[in-house]
Amino acid sequence: MTEFARALAEKEFMILARLDPPAGPDPAPWQETAASLAGRVDAALVSDNRGAVTRMAAVTAAWLLQQAGVPPVVVFSCRDRNRLALAAELWAAQALGLRDFLLVSGDYVTLGDQPEAKPVYDLDSVQALDLARNLDGGSDLFTGAAASPTASPWPPQAMKLRKKISAGARFLVTTPVHTAAELAPLVAALTLAGGRPLVPVLAGWEPGAEDDPAAAGAAARELGQAGAAGLVLSLSGEAGEWNALLTALGR
């Protein structure tokens, strides 16, 4: 069991930061952000060319975070890797002591900074989860999947989430939601008779333009009551903003 898995099982409410690795080779600003988050978040979700915008490789960025004392959850997208590359990078990450992954399909290339790139999608997220669990050493990994509760229509999304869980997703991270109502269909789709979600759901959240940092506290309460096991906060990444946000959450 990874430390992140243990924390997810034991802690009442998790606070994660979603971080986009630097758009360049200089690790210094990333390390500064990491230092400011160490001890204040339970983990950080390290994005992988999010929005199809080129950034430093998630494995390296995650390793740098780990060195700075922030437990990383590494996102791997199927957009930029075929099945060889996925397996190779999972092993590369494991060799560096990384065990926690979020396996996603990935935003389409036309949304990003290389719109003419060849999109890979050799596997989809369900197949990538299955690949990870069957890999040599895969049983040591803790893998999760993305959920998009505001996608519509919802029923095919729910069907795919059930497939992700059956293929080895042991937690879900949602795209940013703002209200309990937005999270409700997801929680309902995954709730067993006993009232607990099939797997823990970490709700994405980012402050709106007019939001006071204190809105984070209210969001945590509201989304927590709606069934979220924690929040994955996202920001443009300034250390000052993180400080205000985490202070508002009592971190």
Partner: protein, 226 residues
């Protein structure tokens, strides 16, 4: 059928410049139906090229031929006489036809006059839609006759990605989400349960080689296609 679109005129015209005697070769099947490379379009292109040559003061001659199909050797053979003396051929067939023409008349240069765009259907007069990527592993029985390989930009096999909004694709709000179409088709037919099993990764192995298939009856009769 195979759909193609004519290349930009400037590109074709530039490719023709080094040659004095050219033969524009149309194809009477798919590209004729999609109004790109049939007999009429071959004549139109030849006239345009002729005009451009006159304006530029170049001495060029553009003859026209149209074959029933450029993807069949027996039709290519009928071009022998007309190709005599040509310095280059301009093909308005799909990529398959262009290649077969180039192979048959090598080393004569064959210039591509069209971009082959898709395998599709005729939705309305003058409107064609992509339907098939010739992936060699058809899933249409499972997916209610809607192809996720061709119609989902990500080729997702196990359901929609999270980018679907109001049944439209994250890549383009004008584009239907293939998985919404699949879901709606199977829901209406009461067959949603066939989507519950995880679909394994596709094999891309065979696609690494140019495809070849032979018909067993022909094989027996003619001992052909070794």
């Amino acid at each position: 059928m195979i759909i193609a679109e004519r290349k930009p005129f400037a590109e074709i015209e530039a490719a023709c410049r080094p040659y004095r005697r050219l033969l524009v070769v149309g194809c009477g099947t798919c590209v004729a139906v999609c109004l790109t490379g049939g007999e009429k379009e071959a004549h139109v292109l030849a006239s345009q090229l002729d005009l451009a040559a006159q304006i530029a003061g170049r001495e060029q001659d553009f003859a026209v031929a149209c074959l029933e199909r450029q993807c069949d050797r027996e039709f290519l053979d009928t071009l022998e006489e007309q190709a005599e003396g040509a310095e280059a051929l301009v093909s308005l067939a799909c990529g398959a036809g262009i290649q077969f023409l180039a192979e048959r008349f090598a080393p004569l240069p064959v210039l591509a006059g069209v971009n082959t765009t898709m395998i599709g259907i005729n939705r309305q007069v003058g409107l064609w839609e992509e339907k098939c990527r010739a992936c060699r592993d058809c899933l249409l029985t499972l997916t209610g006759g809607v192809c996720p390989v061709s119609l989902c930009p990500k080729g997702m096999l196990n359901g929609p990605c999270g980018g679907s909004r109001d049944g439209r694709c994250e890549t383009d709000p004008e584009r239907d989400c293939a998985w919404t179409l699949i879901w709606n088709r199977l829901e209406a037919a009461g067959r949603l349960e066939q989507l519950t099993a995880v679909v394994p990764p596709r094999s891309h192995g065979p696609a690494g080689l140019p495809g070849r298939q032979s018909h067993p009856a022909y094989l027996r009769r003619y001992e052909a296609h070794d």
